[in-house]
């Protein structure tokens, strides 16, 4: 193990960010100092110190008027380069979108339409943002038009900020226009029957516990009961057996009466799965009962019996009982029958225990199974309009654009246009598609004490040239030790590198909107803002120093 990745200091995101920024600063300072010393000896070191000192002042003391002027200049230049033309391409795509969505009958759900709009906006504007940001400065340097700027009393940090601001403004205008068009298009083309799917549901998820056939949550060894797998390849859901004491119990926390209108029922939405161990009556669905529990007062209130309606919500047609959604509706004042008497209880006073609502699900059909996972049941707070979720998703895309422009502009301060484009695209692709597998691979490596099948890149190369398969052990020799040490170094570098690759998937809120959910602040918007800020600050500093030391005469 090269270092302890489980150390508490690595666990806090802000600490991790600070460590990475400081490490980068140290590496940059070291490289700068050494290269200055090698170039000009002690005078070089003095110059380097001067640049760093001046840099701190330049980075902090900014004139908003000059930044605004530079941003305006950048905007004009982008418009002159016909960046807005991409909007026209976007409109053409929308005109022919129906071709690509396939079955455009009135039974088509809203999901493919929403996904199409979001994907198109995202992947149409990202290349524009990358190309604008990566080619602007190098083109100005090549045309020497940057001279007219840098010879004025303007700081290089203001140039970097002005550039970023200008590009962000142009892309924001584009994003606003295409999003508005996309929104109007969605309202127009989504079939009438699917319009009800254009909503923003606000879910409150709970914690799921299961009881075994003895009605106990833990076995003799203290392990929690997790239900059974009925033969699925992936454990998407675990199953409880019907006609036994097996139960699925959800605990919803933080529910307050004030969050619900007094005259409305509390709605819970479900999407359970059924598994039949024998055919049974095919005309009757597997059913489950719903009971509310108060663990403190031991009160149990039956709510009712419902059909599982398995996978019905995947399609647009009405459910079997004429409803359109799988909802458990609970009145705030519940009347139920116990023995021969009718009783009435108040949901929030009598059943919500502290701020916890417990709900028990039991499969009623003997020897049949009900499949559940924690996200299969949620309290559905009052819905928000589709526009709320839609514009939040657009905001997340905007943050991604800001991030890409920031990285691209920074790269263009140091590199030439094509190289900066490659670097930015590379980072984007890594963050979009490869970071997940990289993190998984690193997780396997570190959790298994440095032992993974086939080894790291050096070991893999060694096996390749020697014709060894990946499972044969290497001979215990000096070669093996050298390879493992080198691989440990590579993995350590990758471990650090994963923090430099932005997790672009976080910015993708389209799945929420397409599935009819509001975009959660904590799981999407806040991390997106933090990632953007987290990259903006070091990128701004690097961009400034990059432009400061760059030879602007070189074409």
């Amino acid at each position: 193990m090269p270092f302890d990745t489980n150390h508490p200091i690595f666990q806090h995101p802000i600490m991790r960010w600070l460590i990475v920024v400081c490490a980068l600063a140290l590496i940059g300072s070291f490289v700068g100092a050494v290269s200055s010393w090698l170039g000009n000896g002690t005078r070089g070191l003095v110059n380097f110190g001067g640049v760093v000192g001046r840099g701190f002042a330049d980075l902090v003391w900014l004139a908003p008027r000059r930044v605004f002027a530079l941003a305006t200049l950048t905007t004009r230049e982008s418009i002159r380069r016909k960046a807005l033309w991409v909007g026209a391409v976007f409109l053409v795509l929308f005109m022919f979108a129906g071709w690509f969505i396939g079955d455009t009958s009135e039974a088509t759900p809203a999901k493919p339409y929403i996904s199409f709009v979001m994907t198109t906006i995202r992947w149409m504007l990202l290349p524009v943002a990358v190309l604008l940001a990566c080619w602007g400065l190098p083109a100005d340097i090549r045309d020497r038009s940057l001279h007219t700027v840098v010879t004025k009393p303007v700081r290089r940090s203001e140039v970097v900020l002005g550039r970023i601001g200008g590009y962000v403004f142009v892309v924001s205008i584009l994003l606003l226009v295409v999003s508005a068009v996309g929104y109007a298009w969605l309202l127009r083309v989504v079939p009438e029957r699917s319009q009800r799917q254009l909503i923003s549901r606000v879910p409150v998820y709970g914690m799921l516990n299961m009881l075994n056939d003895q009605g106990e949550q833990f076995d003799a060894d203290g392990r929690p009961y997790m239900g059974v797998n009925v033969g699925d390849v992936l454990d998407v859901r675990r199953f409880i057996q019907g006609g036994t004491k097996e139960r699925a119990i959800w605990e919803f926390r933080g529910l307050r009466a004030a969050d619900f209108p007094a005259d409305q029922n509390i709605r819970l939405e479900y999407m359970f799965e059924a598994f039949r161990s024998y055919k049974g009556d095919i005309n009757t669905q597997i059913e489950f009962s719903v009971t509310l529990l108060n663990s403190t007062s031991k009160l149990r209130v039956p709510i009712g019996v419902l059909p599982v309606n398995e996978f019905s919500s995947e399609v647009v047609h009405d459910l079997v009982d004429g409803k359109t959604e799988n909802l458990i509706s609970i009145p705030q004042s519940i009347t139920y029958r116990e023995g021969d008497t009718d009783k009435t209880v108040d949901l929030f006073k009598d059943l919500v225990d502290g701020d916890v609502l417990r709900l028990e699900i039991a499969c009623l059909d003997a020897s049949q199974y009900l499949g559940v996972n924690p996200y299969d049941l949620f309290v559905r707070m009052p819905d928000r309009s589709f526009a709320v979720g839609y514009w939040k998703t657009i905001f997340a895309i905007w943050l991604l654009m800001v991030l890409v422009i920031t990285i691209g502009t920074t790269a263009s301060c140091i590199l030439k246009g094509p190289v900066a484009t490659l670097a930015t695209f590379g980072l984007l692709i890594l963050g979009s598609f490869l970071k997940e597998s990289l993190v998984k691979r690193l997780g396997t490596y570190f959790s298994q004490g440095g032992q993974v099948v086939g080894g790291g890149s050096i070991e893999a190369f060694y096996r390749l040239v020697t014709g060894m398969n990946e499972s044969s052990p290497l001979d215990d020799s000096l070669t093996k030790r050298v390879i493992e040490t080198l691989d440990a170094g590579v993995y350590a570098m990758l471990y650090l590198a994963k923090y430099i690759i932005p997790d672009v998937r976080i910015f993708d809120a389209a799945a929420f909107t397409a599935n009819g959910f509001d975009v959660p602040f904590g799981a999407c918007i806040l991390p997106s803002v933090l990632i953007t800020l987290g990259f903006f600050i070091p990128a701004y500093i690097i961009g400034y120093f990059g432009l400061q030391v760059r030879e602007l005469e070189a074409k």
């Binding site: 071709w99 690509f100 396939g102 999901k111 493919p112 005309n283 059909p307 309606n309 019905s312 995947e314």
Partner: protein, 455 residues
């Protein structure tokens, strides 16, 4: 360096360009739609039926996707296949369907994609749902997918055949066949189809077997064009499906309790087509290419032998083998028997007798109907004669009919508290000591007890 001047070099380049352009025009000139009007490649495309338009409807989305992806179509298709498998494993059906649709945009003429993914939707996804209505929805999605496949590939006989199988076997023979057949003409999505079947799969709102028959027939038409072969089964078996569909239609109507003139007419038409059209079709034996017809008499085959110069004995031999493989005589006899008024009466009485027993609990009426039905069936059995062992040609060749008869006798036995000692209709079947009949009786008795609610 050569000694050519700049002007001479330009002249050489110009000549080279003209020569190459000539070649390109000769090879690649597009056709204006008439044969031979295009370049060599266009002619070859026409000859080999490889043009987009000759393969089926041109889908602009598909063409655009393939164009935009340049050479990455294979990679994109592989990713989509992988996505589709992932969505299947995670039970994300609507996205599985979208992936399947996208794959066909990239690989519109890859027959297996249509077959495999239609099966995935219509059989695998359908089976995952608990509500019969939802199962039917996914069966329809599979059928619609396959139907789109036939529109993009108008020449594949197998895709049309698979469509026939969807409408015939999936809807007509699944565990949920009773509901599926009703849904086929009265879709559960009432708000959309308003008491009729889904117009995308059943535009004429007719029985599923008749729709299946149309698809099977089109598969045969495609085969007759002799452009693409089928690789599913021996040709005489493949060819029989439209005719079987008509029989299935007639039998299903009776199973549904419709003993009207339509059912009788369907059996009559099935007999006529089976013997006059299918039975007269000249097939080549898979073994050695011997030509024969299934219905042809010795004289007919003799004439055929004189015409094609093949051996009569070989023809008779192959005819016999194929008749046996196809069960040709059984279906012929069945079509003939089912047209008899006595057979129709027997089936009606059996059906009503069972309903009277199970639904109304009217044992007297049930007994009367079943006895009358058995008498009618006995008359038909007598008409069709007996073999050398003295056994009924009809009952012992038609397993389904024999089972129906035993089921009715089981109910009758319960209603009358035993069958009489003396003679009674269908006694030859009921008292037959042959092991197959005895075990079948025991099996049906067990099922009957469950059906009657005894255990």
């Amino acid at each position: 360096m050569n000694n050519l001047t700049s002007g001479q070099r330009k002249l050489v380049y110009g000549l080279g360009i003209i020569v190459l352009m000539g070649c390109v025009i000769w090879l690649g000139q597009p056709s204006d739609g008439t044969l031979g009007s295009g370049g060599k490649v266009s002619d070859l495309r026409e000859d080999l039926s490889l043009g987009e338009a000759t393969l089926g409807n041109v889908d602009p989305a598909s063409s655009t996707m393939n164009l935009v992806l340049l050479g990455f179509r294979g990679i994109a298709a592989s990713i989509l296949w992988s996505d589709a498998e992932h969505y299947r494993a995670t039970k994300n059906w609507s996205q599985l369907q979208q992936s399947a649709d996208s794959i066909t945009l990239l690989q519109p003429h890859f027959k297996k994609v249509w077959e495999y993914q239609a099966w995935n939707l219509g059989f695998n996804v359908s089976a995952e749902c608990d509500a019969v209505e939802d199962r039917y929805y996914w069966v329809k999605q599979g059928a619609k997918y396959l139907k789109r496949g036939t529109q993009r590939n108008t020449q594949f006989p197998e895709l049309f055949f698979e469509c026939g199988r969807f409408f015939g076997q999936k809807i007509g023979r699944a565990d949920e066949k009773e509901q599926f057949r009703k849904f086929f003409v009265n879709d559960p999505d009432q708000s959309r189809w308003k008491g009729k079947g889904d117009g995308d799969v059943n535009p004429d709102n007719i029985d599923n077997y008749l729709v299946a028959r149309g698809w099977y027939s089109q598969a045969n038409v495609n085969l007759e064009k002799d452009e693409l072969d089928q690789h599913k089964m021996d040709l005489p078996l493949f060819w029989a499906y439209p005719y079987h569909s008509l029989m299935d239609y007639a039998a299903a109507r009776e199973d549904d309790g419709n003993f009207d003139a339509d059912a009788k007419a369907a059996w009559a038409k099935a007999y006529q087509e089976w013997t006059d059209i299918y039975g007269r079709k000249v097939f080549a034996a898979a073994g050695n290419g011997t030509n024969f017809t299934l219905e042809g008499s010795v004289d007919d085959l003799q004439q055929l032998a004189e015409k094609d110069g093949q051996d009569l004995k070989s023809k008779l031999n192959w005819q016999d083998r194929y008749r046996s493989t196809i069960n040709y005589n059984y279906w012929k006899d069945r079509c003939r028997a089912e047209q008899e008024q006595d057979m129709l009466n027997a089936r009606r009485d059996f059906y009503d007798g069972k309903r009277a027993f199970k639904d109304k609990g009217d044992l007297e009426e049930s007994g009367m109907l079943l006895e009358r039905g058995a008498q009618s069936l006995q008359k038909v059995v007598d008409v069709f004669g007996r073999n050398s062992a003295g056994k009924s040609n009809l009952l012992y060749s038609d397993q389904e009919l024999a089972e129906d008869a035993i089921k009715s006798l089981l109910i009758l036995e319960r209603v009358r508290e035993g069958l009489p000692e003396g003679d009674y209709p269908l006694k030859e079947l009921w008292t037959d000591p042959e092991e197959y009949i005895v075990s079948k009786k025991a099996e049906l008795r067990e099922k009957f007890n469950r059906w009657a609610g005894d255990n």
